[in-house]
Amino acid sequence: MTAGEIEAAGGEGGREMLSIEKLKARVADKEILHGVDLVVRPGEVHAIMGPNGSGKSTLAQVLAGRETYQVTGGQVRLEGEDLLALTPEQRAAKGVFLAFQYPVEIPGVGNMYFLRTALNAVRKARGQDELDAMDFLAVAKEKMKLVQMDPAFMSRSVNEGFSGGEKKRNEVLQMAVLEPRLAILDETDSGLDIDALRVVAGGVNALRSPDRAMIVITHYQRLLDYIVPDRVHVMAGGRIVKSGGRELALELEEKGYAEVRRGPAEVRP
């Protein structure tokens, strides 16, 4: 895609950061995504809502490059580049970040060490200098304030023995340190009490910026009281069936998914 084409595709909202067209994917023999279309521009926060099993998490995993899922059709471009051709680590280097619904434990690997290794891997891939331990410590300390994380967590093993809320905070901390272009938050609100939710959402909001886009996947509209989206999409049966503004989330809460799905879909995904 040429720069001109990108510009053209951008239409009214300016250039596209992420464009998903007719994306189909399956796990084993079961097709889960049946043709997803979505355009996200820099600075935008998109919420994807939908009932369990609608394909929200699958979409997140496919965008991050998980090999369990096989892409069977369509295309995904990140700033014009074919995202699907890249390995997960290459996507990370390009600025794709996935905050996991279930962050993984890595026993014996220090949280701080893990984060520094990740940051340096990404910096190296981007042609930047690696940070030494002292420089990194300064960066990490600053970012930890964002999510009000106790420094004691940094010397513990990655996610091992963390509570649900601590794990999610840790995901947001990693996001803050890695400074992605496109952040995908997969059910970051699940398992959080209201205080933890506020902290996590506060961290995410602090990371909103004109050149960063976010996709927030959630089952409940509650999160969107704290992270206010520019666009809201409803996913069902492996497709985006309805899109709208902030008010769509409220409508969903009021009427439930079944009712909303029956309504007319907007043209712009």
């Binding site: 991050a64 090999e67 997960p88 993984v104 890595i106 014996g108 690997v109 891997a121 990655v158 890695l178």
Partner: protein, 479 residues
């Protein structure tokens, strides 16, 4: 590239230290007989008691059968095809390090363990065992000022016969087991250290073993004695050249910790494991045991990455009251490597405590067995043991096995055993990769994390080597 493929590629990397150094060797013909033993003893100018001991061992060995209980498989060993003595021919008497054969020095440098550098940087006194005879001993004078003896075993037999006669076989008797008995008959050289009463050895004592002469079985013998209240840390590390024939290695290590003494014995073992099909690796059948008297502490730490077959159980006899025994182990089996390793903690004295931390890593078609015995005798009032055996599987073609044996004869004893088996998960790898970490680095990181509890027990300079051997960057430098 799929995760499975990547794992395979990483785990199928070739052994990097395979080379043969050309040094003129003085070798006896293959085969074992009383005549061979007399020849070895004569070549080494040994006193009569030493020859008699060897011969007693040999005669006993003739009555023994090779053990078949380990969970390992190999072709029958022809003990008459083995060369039992091989020593580099000294071109002249060595007065200093500078006179060490340059070829030898180059070999050590290739392995990344230059003697000179080690002396200077790490403050390590190195007794370099090249094949069977020590060719360089350093830092001797500094140690001698403290009354510490650290020399080759042969030298100790000649110079300190009374100590050898007193302690040799006092922990591992010549009749102990098939391989230890064979060692007792034919051992060629090894190391000896004695730390006098109340002396704390100011540096790590270190020996780098290296099997070199083709077809030469290695039969080292190490004896370390820490007198009352003494403290010493000893490092043993090995690498070996690549070759096709299997090589038998049957070493014996004896540790004696008298009242209040502490001995820490650390090993990083990286002998040639054989090729991807399992051809040609070293057979490592080792007997290591320590005896801890009142309030003494003996600690074994091992990182086992090499050898085609490893059969070894560093053990502690907790003879004295309030004595402590520890065993920390990482054993990695890749390709077709087999390891049957673990420890024995024999609680004899009152209030004795032992800790066992074993981390087995299996990759490729490797088979890793933990075998451990915790034995509490009648008199061992209030004995305590904690054992933890964790296994990590990489890929789906390897195996992990755990055989814990408990024999408790005192009702006041408390014995705990925990075991886990886990697999490097696709979810862990994906998590790391999503954060930008390449897959092979992620594998290293996860393995390193798994082994951390043991690696942190290693002396710092050794931990670096262990990290190299596990092919990963060291954990926990921050935080």
């Amino acid at each position: 590239m799929s995760s499975q493929q990547a794992l395979r590629e990483i785990t199928e990397q070739k052994y990097r230290y395979g080379f043969v150094t050309e040094v003129e060797t003085d070798t006896v013909p293959p085969g074992l007989s009383e005549e061979t033993i007399r020849l070895i003893s004569r070549k080494k100018n040994e006193p009569q008691f030493m020859l008699d001991w060897r011969l007693r061992a040999y005669r006993h060995w003739l009555t023994l059968e090779e053990p078949t209980w380990p969970n390992v498989h190999h072709p029958k060993i022809d003990y008459q095809a083995i060369v039992y003595y091989s020593a580099p021919k000294p071109k002249k008497q060595l007065g200093s390090m500078d006179e060490v054969d340059p070829e030898l020095k180059r070999a050590f440098e290739k392995l990344g363990i230059p003697l000179v550098e080690q002396q200077r940087l790490a403050g390590v006194a190195v007794d370099a065992v090249f094949d069977s005879v020590s060719v360089a001993t350093t830092f001797k004078k500094k140690l001698a000022d403290l009354g510490i003896l650290f020399c080759s075993f042969s030298e100790a037999v000649r110079e300190h016969p009374a100590l050898i006669e007193k302690y040799l076989g006092s922990v591992v008797p010549y009749s102990d087991n098939f391989f230890a008995t064979l060692n007792s008959a034919v051992f060629s050289d090894g190391s000896f250290a004695y730390v006098p009463k109340g002396v704390r050895c100011p540096m790590e004592l270190s020996t780098y073993f290296r099997i070199n002469a083709k077809d030469t079985g290695q039969f080292e013998r190490t004896l370390i004695v820490a007198d009352e209240g003494a403290q010493v840390s000893y490092l043993e590390g090995c690498t070996a050249p690549q070759r096709d024939e299997n090589q038998l290695h049957a070493a014996v290590v004896e540790l004696v910790a008298l009242d209040g003494a502490q001995i820490k014995y650390s090993t990083v073992q990286n002998w040639y494991p054989g090729d991807a099909e399992g051809r040609g690796g070293i057979y490592n059948f080792v007997t290591k045991r320590g005896k801890a008297m009142n309030r003494a502490r003996i600690s074994w730490t091992q990182v086992e990455t090499g050898s085609a077959i490893t059969w070894k159980y560093p053990s502690v006899i907790l003879q004295g009251d309030d004595s402590v025994g520890e065993f920390y182990s990482v054993a990695l089996c890749n390709h077709r490597q087999q390891a049957d390793t673990g420890t024995k903690m024999i609680h004899v004295g009152k209030n004795t405590r032992s800790t066992i931390i074993s981390k087995g890593i299996s990759a490729g078609r490797g088979q890793n067995t933990y075998r451990g015995l915790v034995k509490v005798l009648k008199g061992a009032v209030n004995a305590r043991n904690y054992s933890q055996c964790d296994s990590l599987l990489i890929g789906d073609r390897c195996g992990a096995h755990t055989f814990p044996y408990l024999e408790v004869r005192n009702p006041t004893a408390q014995v705990e055993h925990e075991a886990t088996t886990s697999k490097i998960g696709e979810d862990q790898l994906f998590y790391c990769r999503q954060r930008g970490i390449r897959e092979e680095d992620a594998v290293s990181m996860i393995v390193n994390g798994f082994a951390r509890q043991v690696l942190k027990e290693l002396p710092m300079e050794f931990a670096v080597e262990a990290q190299k051997l596990l092919g990963m960057s060291l954990e926990g430098s921050v935080g």
